[in-house]
């Protein structure tokens, strides 16, 4: 068998191996090299899988050659490969960035541990995505969560510790809910393989344990998704984590959780149960709208730039779950494509913010140069950074020509399919709130007088990855064959033909 045939396993194994190697090597440069190599290899595997799925459809890989449903199956379809692409791609971009970034944010002797944790976190996220086994999802979820708590706790501010602790409590409750849900499903169906479970669940889908399982899974995953109002762990965790960690988490962690939600809803329970028989879509619609408005509104009044965009993430997750709640082809496509588009735009913003922190630390202006007073006139000091944040911000708003516009277009189309004009108005109005918070940054950075006007950009090794994502959020607004193509394919696969 060629190497390519084992791509699904390599996808997870390579970053998994890189993490303990990093610990054994005990040297930050070596650890950096190993984990980055692992991430890049994973990215290559993801590209290979994406191409392969495009040619030959769903790939089923049997771990240790044990046939499902007895053995663990890795199952790669369009959606899986698309999310794998996002996660491994983001890791490949963030890792080279972190080298210079953590230099100023994490004590040197801990660097090798940082890379090890990063590798584990990546492993967990990729594993959650690729596995076709319910309990495996939980295990990988905990691998990524535990390493995430550590990564957040590495932040310099002591509030990083309390944020990490709070996330640990909330996250563990969420994960335990997920195991509960999986447990009920296992008790009822006697299988852990998702595809097998989906078949067996048909006869008993209205039984009470199955409904309980659905409820536990929904709440548990929503906690990890940070669906409003289960988002309380997110703002502090994003604000005080090291910059590179924030960027990676914002771009991938919540997205993978959304993916798991989609998997359970559409591939296991089936849309007829989730959306037709239960009031779930109404509840999800309401919570999404609340998130879009409340979180975006709160974001406008934040004084810390990182926290501002953290709240914005909660709002943007509202768009994704809103698309899900429509239970339509266009809605699902909008959600899936927004996973990706929001991931790169938000990743770009947090990477650039990390640049501001780094430049501020170099100049010795104190720990967190992110309050709006300190940002005054920033465009004179860091023109490239500021311009990048503005462009990525435009993508958050959904200005045409940026990636965000594509998602917004499909989201509105889905609302029109339903004939819900008030929803169209609500989506558009909430995107105006995004204009407000992005423009707060613009006015501070471009119009307020600067304390000093010495040019002090972030190092090139940080600017380049960030700008790669900035350009990405324009590129994927103009050429959508990869993003929208995958999303439409995936939606078709999940929901059947276009209505």
């Amino acid at each position: 068998m060629s190497l390519l045939a084992h791509a699904p396993a390599l996808q997870v194994v390579l970053p998994l191996v890189s993490a303990p190697l990093a610990v054994l090597l005990r040297h930050r440069n070596a650890a950096f090299a190993v984990v980055t190599a692992g991430a890049w290899a994973a990215f290559a595997a993801a590209i290979a899988l994406w191409l392969q799925v495009g040619e030959s459809g769903v790939i089923s890989y049997h771990i240790g050659n044990w046939a499902p449903p007895w053995g663990i199956e890795y199952r790669v379809d369009r959606l899986t490969s698309f999310v794998l692409l996002l996660v491994s791609g983001m890791a490949s971009i963030v890792l080279p960035y972190s080298r210079a970034s953590i230099e100023r944010e994490i004590p040197r002797e801990l660097h090798y541990l940082y890379y090890a944790m990063f590798g584990l976190c990546l492993t967990g996220l990729l594993g959650m995505t690729i596995t076709g086994d319910a309990f495996n999802i939980f295990v990988f979820l905990e691998i990524s969560s535990l390493s995430t708590y550590v990564l957040i706790g590495l932040g310099r501010d002591r509030r990083a510790l309390s944020a990490s602790y709070r996330y640990l409590i909330m996250g563990s409750i969420g994960a335990t809910f997920i195991v509960l849900g999986i447990g009920f499903l296992y008790l009822m169906t006697g299988t852990l393989n998702l595809a097998d479970m989906a078949v067996r669940i048909r006869d008993i889908e209205s039984s009470r344990p199955v409904l309980a399982a659905l409820a536990f899974l929904t709440v548990g995953i929503s906690l990890k998704v940070a669906l409003f109002p289960l988002h309380q762990w997110l703002p502090n965790a994003y604000t005080y984590a090291p910059s590179a960690v924030t960027a990676f988490l914002a771009a991938t962690a919540t997205k993978v959780s959304v993916y798991v939600l989609i998997r359970f809803y559409f591939s296991v329970f089936g849309e007829s149960l989730v959306f037709a028989k239960l009031p779930l879509p109404e509840i999800m619609l309401l919570l999404s709208l609340l998130g879009m408005f409340a979180a975006n509104f709160i974001a406008i009044f934040q004084d810390n730039l990182k926290r501002l965009f953290a709240y914005s993430s909660v709002g943007q997750i509202g768009y994704i779950t809103l698309g899900l709640s429509f239970d339509s082809f266009n809605g699902l496509a909008a959600s899936i494509v927004h996973l990706f588009n929001h991931g790169i735009a938000k990743g770009a913003i947090f990477l650039l913010i990390g640049g501001i922190v780094a430049a501020g630390a170099k100049a010795g202006t104190g720990p967190l140069p992110l309050s709006f007073d300190r940002l005054a006139g920033l465009s004179r000091r860091m023109p490239l950074t500021c311009f990048g944040i503005v462009i990525a911000g435009l993508s958050l708003i959904g200005v045409p020509g940026t990636a965000g516009f594509v998602s917004k277009w499909y989201l509105i189309l889905a609302a029109m399919d339903k004939g819900q004009w008030w929803l169209v108005a609500a989506i558009l109005a909430s995107s105006l709130l995004a204009v407000a918070y992005v423009w707060r940054f613009v006015e501070a950075a471009y119009f307020r007088p600067a304390a000093d006007e010495v040019r002090r950009e972030a190092p090139l090794s940080m600017l380049l990855p960030a700008w790669l994502l900035v350009l990405g959020s324009i590129w994927f607004g103009l050429d959508t064959s990869v993003t929208l193509g995958s999303a439409l394919d995936a939606a078709q696969h999940l929901i059947g033909s276009k209505p």
Partner: protein, 121 residues
């Protein structure tokens, strides 16, 4: 009622664990609550898998009643995860105690708010 006593215990543990996590302000007590909560889930998996008099599934003419091994294995994994979570949580509590001088949530929130106000001023 008595037939379901194991489930009743499970639910009791689950609810009391969750209650402790939410109601207690002490970081260590919260972790204890979390642990109880997780333990209840272990029970939920193990109870239906265990048959009275059943053994491990070893092919041997002496035994005819087997317990389902899969949930046991799963929960073994879950226990490992739980231990790791607990270790990390306790380590964080230690670090928090070092940084804040307290492990009471109210006190930590108060210090955090004070720091925030100092920043915005």
């Amino acid at each position: 009622m008595l037939d379901h006593f194991s489930y009743i215990i499970t639910v009791f543990l689950m609810v009391s664990g969750l209650y402790i996590v939410m109601a207690r302000g002490n970081l260590i007590k919260k972790l204890i609550g979390l642990s109880i909560f997780q333990t209840s889930v272990y029970l939920l998996y193990i109870v239906p898998a265990k048959l009275v008099g059943g053994t491990a599934p070893i092919i041997s003419p002496q035994f005819s009643v087997y317990s389902n091994p899969l949930p046991h294995v799963l929960i073994l994994t879950a226990i490992v995860v739980g231990v790791a979570t607990m270790a990390l949580g306790l380590a964080l509590a230690v670090r928090i105690r070092e940084a804040y001088g307290s492990i009471e949530e109210d006190e930590i929130t108060r210090l955090d708010n004070a720091a925030e106000q100092a920043e915005t001023r």
